[in-house]
Amino acid sequence: MIKQTILALAALAAVGCGSDPASIDTSSNQGRIRSMKLSPLDFNEAAVTAVNNMFKSKVFSNYLRQYETENTDMPLLMLGKIVNNTSQTVNMPVLTERITEALMNAELVQVTTAAAGEGQLRDSASADIRDLEYDENFDQGTVQKRGTLKAPNLSLSGAIIQQQATVGRTTEVTYFITLTLTDNRSGIAVWKGTQEIGRQETRPLIGF
């Protein structure tokens, strides 16, 4: 009887450990999950650092100034491919969209959605709607003409690289997030930035 009571109480306690879904403050890192893998927090922090460094970069600033003197608009940025050399699946827009938002809102660049590298968000509508010229149901005067899309002259590319080292029960993982802004006219990088994110954990002697 005592054993059954203890088991019942243990079961009740286990049930009581759960919690209902609750909203969390995604701008905060208090109480958020950090593991050996990259988390949304890491991408947030990486994006903030990258944007701060872009804003402070003299080389990038010189490029923008030079572009302004030769053109009447802002450079058009394309999101290029970010190579994922880690063991986890990474949705790159989690990192790159925040960076482009910041650059756009700061009125430094324009962003094209008509062209994008692998893994980035691309709006195929710009191309698709031009096929409506073959559809008799549409007023052809309202169909966008071919040859009006603007080609980008600035691109954001990069890589996320994972390095791992294990000594005994301790494992250390370091992620390198490296990003580059390239002037597509010359192929010359106008900004580069690398950040390291490190994690270390020690497994218990017994158990998991």
Partner: protein
């Protein structure tokens, strides 16, 4: 071995352990500075006295990025040095000290400007170490800023 000897041994052991945990930062810098940063007066609201005592906010400097955006740099120093502070922070797993911070920016009309710069970030600061918390305004319209600081969990 009497009780006093045992207590003395334990105390010596604890002192040794605490001494072994010392991991503070010594610094050397040029005494005659050539840089002329623009420091601004700051206004502070303290709701966490422990954080205020552990993390000293020394100077607030402002500048401008090459793109004409306001830049702010706040110098903070981890004051958790000295035997008792070191021993306590080692025992509680708070060495190195982890803080979270975020900058918020306001335009010329005092309206908050949302942006990626307003997310909380974590910073690890060693005892005795000074860190420079920095942010660049998300637009050229920003005039004022607010820095939030809290101890990380």
């Amino acid at each position: 071995m009497n009780r006093i000897s045992i207590l003395a041994c334990c105390a010596a052991g604890l002192l040794g352990m605490a001494g072994g945990c010392q991991n503070t930062v010594n610094t050397v810098e040029n005494a005659d500075k050539s840089a002329a940063p623009t420091y601004v007066n700051d206004k502070r609201v303290v709701t966490d006295g422990a954080l205020r005592n552990r993390l000293a906010v020394a100077k607030v400097a402002v500048g401008e990025s090459p793109n004409g955006m306001m830049v702010v740099q706040v110098e903070v120093t981890n004051m958790r040095t000295g035997f008792f502070s070191e021993a306590w922070s080692s025992m509680t797993g708070e060495n190195p000290y982890r803080i979270n911070y975020r900058f918020r920016w306001f335009d010329e009309k005092g309206m908050a400007v949302s942006g990626i710069s307003s997310v909380w970030q974590e910073k690890i600061i060693y005892p005795g170490e000074s860190a420079y918390l920095e942010s660049v305004a998300p637009s050229r319209d920003c005039r004022d800023f607010l820095l939030d600081l809290q101890e990380a969990e």
